[in-house]
């Protein structure tokens, strides 16, 4: 026979309900009964507050957190050293003499770096764990914002977003719109102007390339420049100015510029290529520079067809490749490869290449290159802040419009190449496929130094190889401009 039991839910408290009932029905004057109705869970035994003291309970948790934090305390050198990777340690030491007095800001910065590194490791390191990466990014987002806080905090916000985009894509989500979507045209123009004013990043590339071009076409009557990414064309305004003002030598040669354009790019924030062409044409006319403008469309998959270029016999062909200025769509390596390979078949007089300079990481893998990228952009942020410490809104605009998308693109590139040995720069690639280096002239080098003189004195220029000038901030190299040719001519 099965036992009949009110399974489990009968408790001795139910007595108090019954008790109350029996007492009231007998209407005794007994004072032993409870005060309750049946809804009260019983008790008369209430000499204290039953509320659980959460503060007391969570107190030990917070103390515990503090205990952990004290592990990362600057006073605890041994622990600190074992937590902070020396790799970053040194660079930060070099950058700021005040560093050794570790501040809250510094420790937060280090904490962010450490978290970012862990996230990168979890995404693509030896013990990949997407769940872990996701959780670390959640944590990072709690700690940072792209518009508030220190350089490191804002930078970390962009890197967090970039990693999140990689994670989403890798997990099979929709391809993240790299470049972060559209910006208002006025924002872009303003940001571009600000970037030029606040730093030599734009002009360094333009001036170095232009000087090399001027020297290369000193005796030519017709010059044809194919520009991979013309943007608003300011590089050519200054070239034309220089051509027109040449004191010695023949009159200004006829200048033809072909701008490479992407099909289906939609309306870019810089305005269409046609507008750039119109603007350049008008400017050329205004200074008396013989000029014509063309476009060359890439295929939908961004393959470059050299045959679609209109070439003229006797013209000096220049290939101009500015890869350091952010464009809103990340340039796939295939696109650049296609362009440069195609260009080689045309036997150009000169190739001018400007790109971000990343430190060579021999065995870094994804994490090593990620850290390098972090370091790179951190230096850029520092350089902008050093020059314009009070203009934080202006810098934030530049960060949002240019650097953020740049970070996104940089990480995407690193991630794609994560299992390849040793990243290469485009300069190395050019050398490898048979382009020959062209020496940077003394004049060019001097001009670069003069340019830097207009900005904060933390900027440096060095001639890394005979054909390459590198712009750096303090001890970190940021941008390189290199000159190449494909001919055997005695340039």
């Amino acid at each position: 026979m099965a036992m009949v039991m009110d399974l489990g839910f009968l408790s001795y408290d139910d007595y108090s309900a019954m008790d109350a009932v029996t007492t009231t029905t007998t209407t005794t004057t007994s004072t032993t009964t409870t005060t309750t109705s049946s809804t009260d869970e019983g008790c008369n035994w209430n000499d204290w507050s039953p509320v659980v003291d959460w503060e007391a309970l969570s107190g030990d948790q917070e103390d515990f957190q503090n205990l952990i934090d004290s592990m990362i305390d600057e006073n605890n050198v041994v622990l600190q050293q074992s937590i902070r990777p020396s790799y970053v340690h040194e660079e930060y030491n070099n950058q700021s003499p005040e560093y050794n007095m570790a501040t809250d800001e510094d420790s937060k910065g280090l904490r962010l770096i450490h978290l970012l590194m862990e996230a990168a490791e979890a995404m693509a390191g030896a013990n990949k764990c997407r769940e872990l990466a996701r959780v670390i990014l959640v944590r990072l987002k709690e700690l940072v914002s792209p518009t508030d806080g220190t350089n490191m905090e804002r930078l970390a916000a962009y890197f967090t977003d970039a990693l999140q985009a990689l994670l989403d894509t890798a997990a099979g989500g929709a391809k993240h719109a790299l470049g972060g979507g559209e910006h208002h045209r006025s924002d872009v123009l303003a940001a571009f102007q600000l970037l030029q004013d606040m730093s030599p990043y734009v002009k360094f590339g333009h001036f170095t390339a232009n000087q090399a071009i001027l020297e290369a076409v000193a005796h030519d009557r017709r010059v044809h420049i194919v520009d991979y990414d013309i943007m608003e064309g300011i590089q050519w305004a200054s070239l034309m100015q220089a051509l027109v003002s040449r004191k010695d030598g023949p009159p200004a040669p006829h200048l033809r510029i072909t701008a490479v354009s992407r099909s289906g790019a939609g309306r870019r924030s810089f305005g269409t290529i046609q507008e750039t062409g119109r603007r350049l044409t008008a400017f050329a006319a205004s200074i008396g520079q013989p000029f014509s403008f063309h476009q060359c469309r890439l295929d939908v998959d961004e393959t470059f067809r050299p045959s679609s270029l209109k070439l003229v016999r006797g013209e000096a062909l220049i290939i101009n490749c500015m890869l350091h200025l952010p464009h809103f769509n990340y340039r796939a390596p295939d696109s650049i490869t296609s362009f440069l390979s195609g260009a080689k078949t045309l036997n150009p007089r000169l190739i001018t290449l400007v790109e971000e300079e990343m430190a060579p990481t021999s065995d870094g893998g994804f994490v090593g290159r990620f850290m390098d990228s972090l370091h790179h952009f951190s230096t850029v942020y520092d350089s902008l802040e050093a020059g314009f410490p009070m203009q934080s809104r202006a810098r934030a605009l530049v960060e949002r419009v240019f650097l953020g998308p740049r970070i996104m693109g940089s990480l995407a590139r690193i991630y794609r190449a994560r299992d390849e040995e040793g990243g290469y720069s485009w300069g190395q690639w050019l050398g490898a496929v048979g382009f020959r280096p062209v020496s940077i002239s003394f004049a060019n080098h001097c001009q670069a130094k003069l340019l830097l003189g207009l900005y904060n004195d933390g900027y440096r220029v060095e001639e890394l190889t005979t054909n390459k000038l590198v712009l750096g901030w303090k001890s970190r190299r940021l941008l390189s401009a290199s000159i190449w040719t494909s001919q055997d001519s005695d340039l």
Binding site: A2, M3, I83, K128, Y415
Partner: protein, 421 residues
């Protein structure tokens, strides 16, 4: 290598295999998503369990750089108020940290005293009742044990139930009701409760009058005794229990034996045997923190396994913002610190080293007990009980050494019946 570069080395050289070269995966840049899934491997195991186990291994290897690194990571990501992974990370981190800094005993005592300060009888009772309402974790043992006890004591006029358990007498109302309603001659019941912790002792002050009143209402002649003089269960003697002539003794141990220091367990079981009980009902959580107590990593993994199941069960049984769930989790936190970061013997503190049914069975047999299977009626009652709860619970009947409550096919609670051979 010094610790810094060694640390950096472990991060910056993720794939140096024995050939010294980098692994080459099939890299087609345009189809990176497919190469990702190919390279996944065990990439998506739960992150908390990953980090925790790596840390335990590092502790066992005494790799201090790695230990610090993992503790730091866990600290960043853990939260006792987050999801299950975050909670497990938080509580196990606490234990790992205590172990690393040799502060387990201090931490445990602090946690105990905090709980005692802030809990009242009322809150403890509410907690137990709420838990019983949403999960059969404890009611399973009650139903199985009460059923077996009633059957074993059928026809006896004078019953003495010795209760060594942690459920604040919530098991006994149903027994009293059964005694009152099913037999014509209601037997006398003497209930002796062994309270070995301070919390239990003070709770008994509240419980005694309630039980007496309830028994009066049920019409069961009742005597209630509390043994509060013990500091530890291991000190229990036959004399403490003062069994009288002519009584039919039933001993009920729910979650009690695990609180006895491991070396004293056999002795306690012998003490129980010396009472010459008609039946002994034992209920314990199914986990083994005892046979592996010399092997930190093994013990850690078992502890993590068990508490992962427990926390997931809590998560699915309670409402998301339940206070009771939080309190139960904190109870686990104390238990985890006790098992992983404290010495076996801590004065005035319970053990917490659970053993599995199989292990307890061995001990009981050695002491001269024989297993008695639960009757079909009792098993039916248990099945009926489980139906009252959410899906996920089931009953496992592997053999004669007891029955198991299972959560999602994992055995979690063991209930058994023993008689002297």
């Amino acid at each position: 290598m010094d610790t810094n570069s060694k640390f950096l080395h472990t991060i910056a050289n993720p794939r140096i295999n024995t050939n010294g070269g980098l692994l080459h995966l099939d890299m087609q840049p345009t189809t990176s998503s497919s190469s990702d899934s190919a390279a996944e491997g065990t990439g998506d195991a739960k992150w908390a369990s990953r980090l925790l186990r790596d840390c335990a291994a590092a502790m066992s290897d005494k790799d201090s750089a790695k230990i610090h690194h993992l503790l730091w990571m866990l600290n960043e990501l853990a939260s006792p108020y987050g999801d299950t992974d975050q909670k497990l990370a938080a509580y196990f981190l606490q234990a790992l940290f205590c172990k690393a800094t040799d502060s387990g005993r201090r931490c445990y005592k602090t946690l105990i005293s905090v709980t005692e300060r802030s809990h009242s009888f009322d809150s403890a009772r509410k907690l137990i009742l709420k838990f019983q309402e949403v999960s059969p974790w404890t009611t399973f043992g009650h139903v199985a044990s009460n059923g077996a006890t009633l059957e074993a004591l059928e026809g006896e006029p004078s019953l003495h139930v010795i209760d060594i358990s942690n459920t604040l007498c919530t098991q006994w109302p149903t027994l009293l009701e059964a005694l009152a309603t099913r037999t014509d001659d209601t037997p006398r019941l003497r209930l002796t409760v062994v309270a070995a912790t301070a919390a239990a002792k003070s709770a008994m002050k509240e419980i005694a009058p309630r039980m007496e009143k309830f028994a009066r209402l049920m019409g069961v002649p009742f005597e209630f005794t509390v043994i509060a003089g013990l500091n530890r269960l291991g000190d229990l003697t036959k004399d403490d229990l003062a069994v009288r002539e002519g009584e039919a003794v039933a001993v009920n141990c729910v979650g009690a034996l695990r609180r006895v220091d491991v070396e004293e367990r056999n002795r306690v079981i012998e003490t129980i045997k010396s009472l010459n009980p008609k039946v002994v009902t034992i209920v314990e959580e199914e986990a083994d923190f005892s046979s592996n107590r010399e092997d930190f990593v093994k013990c850690f993994e078992e502890c993590l396994r068990f508490h992962t199941v427990y926390f997931e069960m809590l998560e699915e049984s309670f409402a998301p913002t339940s206070n009771e769930k939080l309190m139960l989790e904190r109870e686990c936190a104390r238990s985890i610190v006790r098992v992983l970061a404290c010495d076996d013997k801590v004065e005035d503190c319970d053990s917490e080293r659970r053993e599995k049914g199989r292990q307890w069975s061995e001990r009981l047999r050695e002491a001269g007990f024989t297993a008695a299977a639960h009757s079909d009626d009792v098993v039916d009652d248990v099945r009926a009980l489980l139906k009252r709860y959410r899906a996920g619970w089931s009953l496992l009947l592997p053999g004669e050494d007891g029955i198991y409550l299972a959560w999602k096919e994992e055995p979690v609670v063991w209930a058994s019946v023993w008689k002297p051979s």
